[in-house]
């Protein structure tokens, strides 16, 4: 039977800081809800998302546009601005709800404990500041030394860590290539050794060769820091190569969470199955198979399971009741009525 402590989707405050297999949990997101208020009404971008992040693990959040994954990244950093609003839920970083913190307190946390690398992060570098100045810019807020020998040494070590030559410190962003800029952004993000790094599509603007190099660097750094990484993206291939556990998002909800090998070998949720089946492969030429239908409107989502209009296994139940994300197999969470039936028969 499913363990009640892991019956996610309900806001019951939990004291547990350990996941089922005993690994330590560093970030526990519970029933996060975020909406954007548009002239046409509220858009429920994140509609009750829960997941846990273990210390030092690489966790992937994969979904297509409109699935809500980038909104989650911004919410965890409390960077959601009107017309967006965090409607509910908690995000416990080492037991402390970071969504409930004031801006003042949050500012102390950003970079020092939780950092964000955004999409097109290369464009978020200030074009008129040297790289070293941008690195120390963040340190000022955290009371770290900004000048002097110690600072210079730290900067040099940091750059070397991300695979950049020390000369880069004195350069301006326009003198660097796309890959180098991304490394600089990673350097800034890890400069204060955070516990959690959120990487939202960090390589989407880069070529495939550079992408691999950056991801290798990120993985190495993550291991050396002992930090946990949430990798957000839409590239299943990238997820397969980088993450330990993968969460699949659809229409603002998490529909499946599993160790990455399990998901690719035996996807449980119909959306995951169709998604993996639609991936073009290099192994052999075959039929190109997309997912029929259209992504749902977040303005007026369909009742019941958001995927039911496109699901090949749809049942009557699916049109009416929202399936909860529950533990159905060892270590595997899925939100689908198909597996409820399995349970009842068990």
């Amino acid at each position: 039977m499913s363990d009640t402590s892991l019956r996610l989707g309900q806001t019951r405050p939990e004291p547990a800081a350990q996941s089922r297999d005993g690994a330590e949990i560093v970030l526990d997101v519970r029933d996060l809800r975020v909406s954007y208020y548009t002239p046409r009404g509220p858009v429920r971008a994140v509609n009750g998302v829960s997941f846990t992040l273990r210390r030092g693990e690489a966790f992937g959040l994969v979904g297509e546009s409109g699935s809500g994954k980038s909104t989650i990244a911004l919410s965890l950093m409390q960077l959601i601005k009107p017309p967006g609003r965090i409607e509910g839920g908690q995000a416990l970083l080492d037991g402390r709800d970071i969504l409930a913190l004031s801006e003042e307190e949050m500012r102390r946390l950003r970079l020092a404990e939780i950092a964000l690398i955004t999409q097109g992060a290369m464009n978020s570098l200030n074009p008129v500041m040297r790289i070293r100045d941008q690195i120390v810019d963040a340190w000022k807020d955290h009371g770290e030394p900004v000048n002097g020998r110690e600072a210079e040494d730290r900067i040099r070590d940091l750059l070397r860590w991300v695979g950049l030559r020390p000369e880069v410190a004195r350069m301006y962003p326009h003198e660097l290539s796309g890959g180098m800029k991304q490394r600089a952004v990673i350097a800034i993000a890890i400069s204060l050794r955070p516990k959690v790094i959120i990487a939202d599509e960090p390589t989407s603007a880069l070529d495939v060769v550079v992408q691999r190099q950056i991801m290798q660097t990120l993985r190495r750094i993550q291991r050396e820091l002992g930090a946990a990484v949430i990798l957000i993206g839409h590239d299943m291939g990238l997820m397969a190569q980088f993450v330990d556990r993968l969460g699949v998002m659809y229409a603002g909800k998490v529909v499946e969470v599993s160790p990455v090998r399990d998901i690719f070998k035996d996807p449980l949720h119909p959306y995951t199955q169709l998604l993996i089946a639609s991936l073009p492969s290099l192994a052999r030429k075959g039929q190109l198979q997309g997912i029929p239908g259209l992504p749902p409107s977040l303005l007026s989502p369909p009742p019941g399971c958001p995927f039911h209009p496109r699901c090949p296994f749809v049942m009557d139940r699916c049109r009416v009741a929202v399936p909860l994300l529950e533990l159905k197999r060892p270590n595997r969470l899925v939100a689908c009525h198909l597996y409820e039936r399995d349970e009842e028969q068990a």
């Binding site: 070529d207 495939v208 060769v209 590239d235 291939g237 492969s281 290099l282 997309g290 997912i291």
Partner: protein, 362 residues
Amino acid sequence: MTTLLEARKVTKVYGGGLFRRDRTVALEDFSLRIEPEPPSITAIVGESGSGKTTLARLLLGMTMPTSGAILYQGKDLRKLSRREWRAFRRDVQAIFQDPYEVYNPFYKVDHVLELPIRNFGLAHSRRERRAMIEEALHAVGLRPEETLGRYPHQLSGGQRQRIMVARALLLRPRLIIADEPVSMVDASLRATILGSLLKLNQEFGISLIYITHDLTTAYQVSQDIIVLYRGSVVEAGDVEQVVRDPQHPYTRLLVGSIPLPNPDRVWQGERVLGRPAGELKPIGSSYCKFHERCPFAMPMCIEQAPPLFQTDPRRVTACYLYREAPAIEPEELVGVFANGHREQAAPRPEVQREGGAGGAGS
């Protein structure tokens, strides 16, 4: 039978003039021929800076080559008469990467479908026009009632791109140049759109030039492939051979860097190649552009740009590692391709690789 579209020793240089330093060679000495029959599918693969976008613009007549020529039915684009230019526009159409930018926000999406019909006089009454549009939409799997009469912002990126495919089909061109048609579309819709493109080729007999940075979709869609690196062809030929048994060090790097959606197949990247050979400074203006990153670089690589060595009836590689094989002229490249002839498809090669992409079987 006159060649439908030909690029003959085309070079495109940006900048230059009085200020030598700004000179970028986007494409160098490129040749390609697309015959009208049978309908072929050619993929052009390259990363940013490879020259593939420049090539698309040149082939569409949106920009003119610095040297060499683009020929439509044997005539230089720059010398076409007004009527010949219209015929060119009818025969050669395009699908662009960005499904947002191509729509004029002032008009409903019907506008992009009506424009070609009106301008080329394809229909003689409103009803005929409407029928043509509906037929094209059906062909790409869209329902007219759900798409027509809407503004672009009311439709998803995938729908908009499919409308673009429908639009390209309306003119019944003989060649469609698709420049990264699915890179800005969600994963679940990519396969559908690529399927539509294949349908255009198989059912409507339209040749395709599929330009992309994504080797995997290129492999799925096309028969012939050209790999570009910094404006030059590094490898070309039958897609099965080039992708599953790459020869040129750059192609091997490219294939090795693809993240496979299979956690047990670890991407290798440079491990496939090893470390770059070291400092080699080119002397003249003709040298292999990949030499700086190539672990196999030799002195001859910087003395003269490698020609296309035909290592196989259906494949060429521009690398001195294969200098034993006979060299061919760029104009002869067309002979290496299947160009739509199914019987000429080469047998799938036996592949020995250490991990990386494309082992024999799945």
